[in-house]
């Protein structure tokens, strides 16, 4: 564990230093990557630990963003109230829609998450009375936490950093808990888990609820980062990006997922001058990584992460 802890602390310090000296542009990218890492870690409960892949994380991320945006623009409540609402909303919708499907085999579950993603997107786009439909939701005020208004890239970066670190630490505790153990057992062998006394369906539903909750929290930050939400930000493409980062990050490795988010998040920005080629490279990265190291990034690196 020594090595893991040292690397962890070092990276957090590095991220703080980055916050102090980096230009606003780098901060904007870093903030987006940190926010996306929360949604990817949430998805990791399903892909990395429950052995299920979901293509609805983008829509649940959107549910969180809309919950935060609508709450602050339609009611007088302070922004921070939006965080628990976003988490609960995304978690409840994710669980309600996902649980009936999670009983199905892996392949059928993926299929149903595509349906869920598209249905949620269509509702965001066409339920105009609630979501503002194609106009999106504008005029989201800057996030203010106890009087401190986070309206500059640097300040918001700090909020995103705290969010991402908290998300990672909480996720580690979830995986270390008995639920995490049961989840891994279910992913290895559902039947044996049942006859070993594990409530299989409840474990899967909890994984769904957690991944939805994390997506909601990330959506909340997204809403206050862009201060404008629009249905086209939460399409199937976003779910593909999140799934890629989670799968690329690897099996049973939260650290791998964070690393993948940084690499792929950064790549989509760094490759920007290449215009269209950027997306071709992105697709290629995806295919090649699945062809040559399906167990994900850290499975390739020699160091053994003792858990």
């Amino acid at each position: 564990m020594r090595a893991g802890l040292a690397v962890g602390i070092a990276s957090v310090i590095a991220l703080c230093i980055l916050g102090l000296f980096a230009s606003d542009y780098l901060l904007e990218i870093a903030t987006l990557v940190l926010i996306e890492s929360i949604a990817v870690v949430g998805l990791g409960f399903l892909t990395g630990f429950a052995g299920r892949i979901s293509l609805a994380q983008g829509a649940l991320y959107g549910v969180g963003a809309y919950a935060a945006a609508l709450l602050v623009t339609r009611t007088g409540l302070p922004p921070l109230v939006g965080l628990p609402v976003a988490i609960v909303a995304a978690s409840v919708i994710g669980t309600a829609l996902g649980t009936p499907a999670i009983r199905l085999s892996g392949l059928y579950f993926v299929m149903s998450t595509i349906g869920i993603q598209q249905i949620l997107w269509i509702l965001l786009m066409h339920w105009s009375s609630l979501t503002g439909g194609p106009q999106g939701v504008r005029g989201i005020p800057a996030l203010s936490v106890g009087g401190l208004v986070l309206d500059t890239p640097a300040r918001f970066y700090v909020a995103a950093l705290i969010g991402a670190v908290a998300s990672y630490l909480l996720a580690r505790r979830v995986i270390a808990s008995r639920f995490g153990l049961f989840l891994r057992a279910v992913s290895d062998d559902e039947l044996a888990s049942a006859t070993a006394g594990v409530a299989v369906l409840r474990a899967k539903a909890t994984a769904l609820a957690l991944s939805g909750g994390w997506a909601g929290a990330a959506g909340f930050l997204h809403a206050y980062y862009l201060r404008y939400v629009h249905p086209d930000m939460f399409t199937l493409d976003l779910s593909v990006v999140f799934l890629t980062m989670a799968m690329f990050g690897g099996y049973r490795s939260l650290e791998g997922m964070l690393l993948a988010t940084v690499i792929l998040g950064g790549a989509s920005e760094y490759l920007r001058p290449f215009g269209q080629f950027r997306l071709v490279a992105y697709g290629g990265l995806l295919v090649l990584s699945m062809m040559f190291f399906p167990r994900g990034l850290l499975a390739v690196l020699p160091i053994r992460w003792r858990r």
Binding site: L104, G106, H126, Q276, V280, M290, P294
Partner: protein, 287 residues
């Protein structure tokens, strides 16, 4: 007016059926779903456009040329890419999506703008008591029927057809009976690419050709395959036609906004109620 909707619905239904067949063929053989199928359909349209403009090929030879080329590409991609993705469902699904992203954006570089497709299936329209529709629709119906019949004959009576069916039921057993399983799987991918590409050419004259042509059609065809029964060829075709008609009617009588919602609501409902689809067989899961 109803006739107008039915013809339109039948036309899109045929396209969903053909693209859906691509999902079914691969699923029956490998229990995997190739999510790049929508992009293969789009690539077929561009291939048809290229053939029609550069070489001025008339309809039939163009369709055959596109079918042959896509079959070869399908076998090649199976050998180079898909064969390394059989590790698990997850790896295959994500790998296929990656391939789709590559294909779509590769074409977006070469063809950034939507292009009109020459009316190779005949310009002008037919009138059928009140309904007005392009000649292309007739071709779509005919080619779909021909393809379905050809598939049925091939599977029932030809050696390769029986080999493909053997591999579909159980790869190991087929291998012991001397079937070259790798080649059969390659042929299955080839076939699914060819059918989807032909559907792409057929749709050309109706819509503009653009790299995002395949996205929605791919997802809808997928829902149709699940509706009909993803492991049954007949089921998928009926599922495609049913979805096409339902969508056309829903768009007119309910609302165009929620037209797409219908396809995905059906997908989710079918998966919960009858994952094997209306006509699909229950695939027993060995305990």
């Amino acid at each position: 007016m109803l006739a107008q909707l039915l013809v339109g619905g039948l036309g899109t239904g045929c396209i969903y059926a053909l693209v859906g067949l691509g999902f079914t063929l691969v699923y029956r053989t490998m229990r995997m779903v190739n999510f790049a199928q929508g992009q293969v359909f789009m690539a077929g349209t561009f291939l048809g456009l290229f053939g029609a403009q550069q070489f001025g090929l008339p309809a039939l030879p163009l369709l055959l040329l596109v079918a042959v080329i896509s079959f070869a590409v399908g076998m090649l991609l199976e050998r180079v890419v898909f064969r390394r993705l059989y590790a698990s469902h997850e790896v295959f699904v994500v790998g296929a999506i990656g391939l789709g992203v590559m294909i779509e954006n590769g074409f977006r570089i070469v063809y950034p703008e939507p292009l009109p497709f020459p009316k190779i299936f005949g310009a002008g329209v037919y009138h059928l008591h009140g309904a007005v529709f392009q000649k292309t629709y007739l071709w779509i119906l005919i080619v779909t029927l021909v393809l379905v019949a050809a598939l049925h004959v091939m599977f029932a009576y030809t050696r390769t057809g029986r080999a493909l069916r053997a591999v579909a039921s159980d790869g190991e057993i087929a291998a012991t009976m001397g079937v070259n399983v790798q080649r059969a799987i390659g042929a299955t991918f080839g076939l699914s690419f060819a059918i989807a590409a032909v559907a792409g050419v057929l749709i050309g004259p109706l819509y503009f050709v653009s790299p995002d042509l395949g996205d929605m059609v791919g997802l809808k065809a997928f829902s149709a395959a699940v509706l009909g029964g993803i492991n049954s060829v007949v089921g998928t075709i009926l599922g495609g036609l049913a979805l096409g008609l339902m969508e056309a009617l829903a768009a007119f009588y309910i609302s165009t906004d929620y037209k797409d919602l219908l396809a995905f609501a059906i997908l989710v409902l079918m998966l919960l109620v009858r994952p094997q689809g209306l006509l699909g067989r229950v695939v027993p899961v060995k305990v």
